[in-house]
């Protein structure tokens, strides 16, 4: 079986997962205590307007009878898979949910990107270092640091960091360091990160193609602004990567195949880069890919503490406002991204670990 068919198969297997996720979300929201009419029109709605709204929302037929739940469920599924997300009820009344999500996306992407880069860039090398120098003071320091990062809860670290960095905090000098930025709120510079160069100006359709050119100053400022929040968001992953990285390297180093490699005269450097390296990546991969789980949950928290206007914040506010279309659409998107991540992980595995076969069964 080749990799393309394998990929298709994994994606097909994602469909039941998606369906299950959507069903659970649907049940939680529709069987829960949320009354859409109450959420939209408030307590003193006039009955005629309420009836009108119920019909518009698709929970009552125009003859006055209720739409059965399973029809609502079917309509909901069709809306989701056709990306017909509808309009917001509460967070931004009457605004298309799609526009809302696209508008909040850059802040979350910027935050998520840096939290992953920081966690990976520090966590993995430190973990590998600790494993290669096990039971030295450097290892103790790194491992202890890993446990501390892992143990500090997001919500606590976020509040602490926001506190010491904002005006009056002991580290408030950070805000004036190099570039003057804030640390709370959404960086304004996000809109100016790239300037575009039109490739085919004036030609229909193709005029929308443009080459992004990074603008360094706004980028630096936006990075500095988001850094504390990204650090908090990536903290647990970083700790995990240190610990798993260390264990993975140690386990590989103590394997018999390392002795065999030494016995045939392979240099220490090559043993580490070739023989240990690839084996150590195998247990690290799910930890790295699993960061996404943490990012979704973490971004809700971190974005609200740092008042960043991103998807996490939107999700939280939609939940408080009983804004079902926004909640549904975001959940749908999160599930889809999660399935894509898992599939990517499975595909990557087949490259790293040959023992994972593409076939259904080993005949």
């Amino acid at each position: 079986m080749n990799r393309f068919i394998y990929l298709l198969k994994r994606l097909l297997l994602g469909i039941p997962v998606l369906l299950f996720g959507l069903t659970v979300t649907f049940l939680v929201l529709y069987l829960g205590p949320i009354d859409p009419v109450l959420a939209i029109l408030g307590r003193d709605a006039n009955p005629a307007a309420a009836r009108q709204l119920e019909i518009a929302l698709g929970i009552r037929y125009s003859d006055g009878s209720m739409v059965p739940l399973w029809i609502q469920y079917k309509n909901f599924l069709v809306d989701m898979v056709t990306f017909n997300f509808g309009t917001s009820w509460g967070v931004a009344r009457n605004q298309p949910v799609m526009d809302l999500i696209i508008g909040r996306l850059p802040a979350t992407l910027w935050l998520g990107f840096w939290s992953v880069v920081i966690a990976l860039g520090f966590g993995v090398p430190i973990g590998l270092y600790a494993g290669l120098n096990s039971n030295t003071w450097g290892d103790y320091f790194a491992s202890f640091g890993g446990i501390v990062w892992r143990a500090m809860p997001n919500f606590w670290l976020a509040v602490m960091l926001a506190g010491v960095l904002s005006a009056g905090g002991i580290l408030s000098g950070y805000r004036d360091f190099l570039i003057k930025t804030d640390v709370i709120g959404t960086p304004d510079e996000l809109q100016y990160l790239f300037s575009g160069i039109d490739v085919f100006p004036g030609i229909p359709i193709l005029e929308y193609l443009w080459i992004p050119i990074p603008n360094l100053m706004p980028m630096a400022a936006a990075f500095k602004w988001i850094l504390p929040a990204a650090l908090v968001l990536g903290s647990a992953s970083m700790g995990n990567e240190v610990r798993i990285g260390r264990t993975a390297v140690l386990e590989s180093l103590n394997s018999e195949y390392i002795d065999t490699a030494k016995a045939k005269g392979v240099s220490t450097r090559r043993i580490i880069t070739k023989h240990v390296g690839r084996n150590a990546v195998i247990p690290l991969l799910p930890v790295i890919m699993g960061e996404f789980y943490l990012l979704i949950g973490g971004s809700v928290l971190v974005e609200s503490v740092f008042s960043i206007n991103g998807l996490g914040n939107l999700f939280l506010r939609a939940a408080f406002a009983a804004d079902i279309p926004v909640l549904m659409s975001l959940t749908f998107i999160f599930i889809v991204i999660q399935i894509l991540f898992n599939t990517t992980q499975d595909i990557l595995y087949t490259y790293i670990d040959p023992r994972i076969t593409l076939a259904d069964n080993n005949e």
């Binding site: 002795d259 045939k264 023989h275």
Partner: protein
């Protein structure tokens, strides 16, 4: 002093490939010093197979790892030890120098073929790595050579097998592949640390036969370590019986089986299934190998020895020649046989004292 059996065989005019003198490998723990290998000496010449046999925990594998320079902290080789390979003193080697010797000088086949190949690289990749590092062969030439090597170790369809991963090989095949990989290094000495233990009996026989053929072709020196007396009988020319870090008896293989002298060797031979068919139950040696954590001032086998007497707890036995040519010796207070027990004990006591004065390896 030519009665000391550590001396090279007087008949062989050639310099031994490997010459180990008074090898002491110890492990330091917080509580004690464990003498895993305690003052052993032996030689191996070209084309010869030396077997080291003993129970689990007797120090066989540590001996092999000491020679390969693979003893990791907290283990260390004590300074008076000497490991000479082709005249070079390996104990003084740095890590980088040792890398040069490993592979092209001394190769090693490990116990568990399921674990001794790297699971994420193809067998071909690992063989070609050995070829490139030790012989500078790469590219198509390396592929051809690797195919040839797999053919040598009787792996069918080698060109296809080269592209497969270790998990696609059976246990016996993997051990063949490991052997092929070690042969790719073209070593003078091959250390086999229980290479057949993890394999079933028919595969065992095939691997032993393979090693014998390869030895004949290449004039390899082989150090073969096992706890299996049957395997030892098949493959070795000479056998050293190891117990608690020391050699208790050394003999040519047929001599050892026909005329064992040390009570421990006798016990081992008695414990082979099938040799005492008339008996209902198999003989065993009661107890376990003790952990040698102090200097040997007594016989370490005494607590389990059916023939032990009082002096065994007081006097450390030295090797006593059994045969005229000095090929067979045993370290036991019961010998020399022609003397009374008191005389024999006195002989061991005196020789023990002399050995302390004269540095090992300096026998006349």
């Amino acid at each position: 002093m030519n009665s000391t059996l550590n001396d090279a065989n007087p008949d062989s005019s050639t310099e031994p490939v490997l010459s180990v003198r008074n090898l002491q490998t110890v492990f330091r723990t917080d509580r004690e010093l464990i003498r895993a290998v305690d003052g052993i000496s032996f030689d191996i010449s070209k084309g010869e197979t030396l077997g080291i046999v003993g129970e689990s925990g007797s120090g066989k594998s540590v001996t092999a790892r000491s020679i390969m320079g693979l003893v990791d902290s907290p283990g260390e080789i004590l300074p008076k030890s000497s490991i000479k390979f082709n005249g070079e003193e390996l104990t003084e080697y740095t890590d980088a120098e040792y890398q040069q010797i490993r592979g092209s000088g001394i190769g090693m086949v490990f116990q568990d073929p399921l674990k001794s190949l790297n699971p994420v690289y193809t067998v071909g990749n690992q063989i070609k790595e050995a070829l490139r590092i030790n012989r500078g062969i790469s590219g198509q030439e390396a592929t051809d050579k690797a195919i040839e090597l797999l053919e040598d170790v009787a792996i069918p369809d080698p060109a296809r097998r080269l592209k497969e991963y270790p998990h696609e090989f059976s246990g016996g095949m993997r051990q063949r592949a490991v052997i092929a990989m070690m042969l790719a290094c073209d070593p003078d000495l091959l250390i086999c640390d229980e290479p057949t233990t993890a394999l079933d009996v028919t595969i065992q026989a095939q691997i032993i036969e393979l090693l014998q053929d390869l030895q004949e072709e290449r004039d390899l020196a082989i150090l073969f370590i096992t706890h299996d007396m049957g395997v030892i009988a098949e493959i070795s020319d000479r056998v050293n019986v190891m117990y608690a870090g020391e050699f208790v008896e050394k003999a040519p293989v047929t001599e050892l089986f026909e005329n064992p002298k040390h009570p421990y060797t006798e016990g081992l031979l008695d414990a082979i299934p099938g040799t005492n068919a008339e008996k209902e139950r198999l003989n065993t040696i009661e107890g376990d190998v003790p952990t040698p954590n102090e200097q040997a001032t007594y016989c370490r086998f005494a607590p389990r020895c059916p023939k032990a007497f009082e002096d065994c707890e007081q006097v450390h036995p030295v090797h006593v020649p059994i045969s005229e040519d000095g090929e067979h010796s045993a370290a036991c207070l019961l010998y020399p046989e022609d003397r009374s027990t008191e005389e024999a004990v006195e002989y061991h006591r005196e020789r023990g004292r002399e050995a302390e004065d004269v540095p090992e390896g300096d026998h006349a």
